[in-house]
């Protein structure tokens, strides 16, 4: 603790400098918080907190706000599971195995990072329809995973490259097969990256508006992000309900916000310390 405050002192210098720094941080905080303040203020117009309670008790159109949360989380969980599962296997292969064409394949995959979701929207629409995955959670989670996977491969390969080869070699000499090395050495050591990755996947899923709008036709599949639009037609039309609509916008933003606030705590580092000495 003493070290931290010493470091702070070095960073902040004299008292006056510190005051200026604090003032600037406060100002920046205020700028960032202003939209949230405005949203909350408007959400209380008309009915006050009753705007919120009404959303929890009455359905909007065909769905309740709980339904939208649940839909969002099912897709997010599927998305994260696919990305983590496939990404971890790919990360192991790209960082610890030697095979012909490895680098070309790797760069090919990473190149896909540059493909925007909107560019493949039309072919995707037909593909999902042909696959019979309209109005199916997988129908949204799979394309999301496909777009996230290049990033996952990039992240996990870089992380895997930092796991010393000697750990893998030691296990191989102790007669471990690749599956055992993957399960007992690589996966546990990649845990910080995997937790990180799954939190990002969930966050991206919660924010995804495009795919749910395109690939769900049945209103009961409305996700939280899509509800921003679909609730509009029920609530934003009458001036008396506009406060309620604004309240729904605040509530729909809550899951992603909570995830960032609490999820980031899981992002652990330094797990590999002590195993090897370089």
């Amino acid at each position: 603790m003493a070290e931290t405050s010493d470091a702070m002192r070095v960073l902040t210098g004299r008292k006056r400098d510190r005051r200026i720094l604090q003032g600037m941080l406060l100002l920046m905080g205020a700028i960032w918080l202003f939209p949230i303040y405005a949203a909350i203020k408007r959400s209380l117009e008309g009915g006050g907190t009753g705007n919120y309670t009404a959303l929890f008790t009455d359905p909007v159109g065909d769905v309740t706000i709980y339904d939208t949360y649940l839909n969002s989380f099912i897709i997010a969980a599927l998305h994260a599971a696919i990305v983590v599962g496939v990404g971890a296997l790919a990360g192991y292969a790209f960082s610890k195995l030697h095979f012909r064409g490895k680098e070309a394949l790797y760069y090919g995959i990473v190149l896909c990072l540059a493909v925007p979701g909107t560019a493949i929207l039309v072919p995707l629409y037909y593909t999902i329809r042909e696959a019979g995955l309209f109005d199916n959670y997988l129908g949204v989670a799979l394309p999301e995973a496909a777009l996230t996977l290049p990033f996952a491969v990039l992240l996990l390969r870089n992380f895997g490259d930092n796991i010393p080869d000697s750990l893998i070699e030691a296990a191989r000499m102790d007669r471990a097969g690749h599956w055992q090395v993957f399960r007992t050495v690589y996966l546990p050591l990649c845990r910080p990256a995997l937790v990180n990755l799954s939190i990002l996947c969930v966050m991206w899923s919660l924010q995804d508006f495009l795919f749910p709008s395109l690939l769900f036709t049945d209103e009961k599949y409305t996700t939280a992000a899509k509800a921003v639009q679909s609730f509009q037609q029920y609530l934003a039309t009458s001036p008396s309900d506009i406060g309620k609509y604004n309240a729904s916008l605040v509530l729909l933003a809550v899951p992603a916000l909570l995830l960032v606030v609490f999820g980031l705590r899981f992002i652990t580092a330094g797990l590999t310390s002590g195993g090897v000495k370089e």
Binding site: S166, A170, D174, R175, Q180, T184, G274, G275, V276, K277
Partner: protein, 380 residues
Amino acid sequence: MAQVMLDQVSKTYPNGHVAVHGMDLDIADGEFLVLVGPSGCGKSTLLRMIAGLESITGGELRIGERVVNDVHPGDRDIAMVFQNYALYPHYTVARNIAYPLRLAKRPKDEIDRRVREVAAMLELTDYLDRKPGQLSGGQRQRVAMGRAIIRDAALFLMDEPLSNLDAKLRVQMRGEIARLQRRVGTTMVYVTHDQVEAMTMGHRVAVLREGRLQQIGTPDEIYRAPANTFVASFMGTPPMNLVDAHLRGTRTGAKAGAGTGAEVALGGVGVPLPESVRGHADGPVTVGVRPEHLLDASILGDTATHVRIPAIVEYVEALGAEKNVYVTLGSARGDAASAGPPIACRFPAESTVSADAKVELALDPARIHLFDAASGVALR
């Protein structure tokens, strides 16, 4: 336990670089062999080839009766200790040591018993529930050895296992590893760049340079009769002094009892050479003398066998029990005989020499090593 035989084993990388040139080694069952050499000499590559972590591009490797060139590392019955220990940071000490047995799906009570035995042998019993991150360097080192021992493998490989420890701990672990090897009796191949480890730990030492075997023998043989100037200067601290000189008189005065008549000039003094060099022709040679064979004549007293060579002290390193004294040969600086780097001598502590003083060195001619000036190969 097993015998290991390397028959013309070599390693050529796809880019054409040859890391190991046709290497012949015969490691006896239960032997402790040390591979030593400067970095880049191919010693670690050779060890990894024995382990199966590097492919063998030429020759044949046998462990026991079996040719294992293409056998998977896990099937060679070899345990290896890595330079960085390669412990699993997410497992406890007990789990790290048990890892090979768990993979082999041995019964749980057997695993527990063996882990306790090995931990007791390595004095790790109190640390079994800790993670590697909570251990000191020496303890981690012992955990790594525990993981190797528990397997009862036919062969132990150690890749510079002490290089990450501090000096004091290194001395202690050096003794522990040598004792442990005697106790379990497993054949061991140990790689190091530290000539002190090579001298003190193994039954035999193989000195490597640029992927070629320079000499193999007991530490004593290597030290007393180095095969070439590289081995001569690699083993020993300070290293053997190597001086360019001219061998003359190999064909004259060879009468019984009068020596060979052959001599080399050191510091302007002719040093008569023993009988054995008579077969060689006159010409340039490299003369090698170990620092401990250059004695301080003032405290030696009278001996007929020693030749006296004048020198000037450049500087003195007092080490307590002894002094490393660096001198220039010849009776005056700038003398034709004084060219080249300073000559190291090891004097006892009671020697009173000081920098810039004149000193007389006493050298027993029998202690002189001669090497071919061009190839560096020992002349015997």
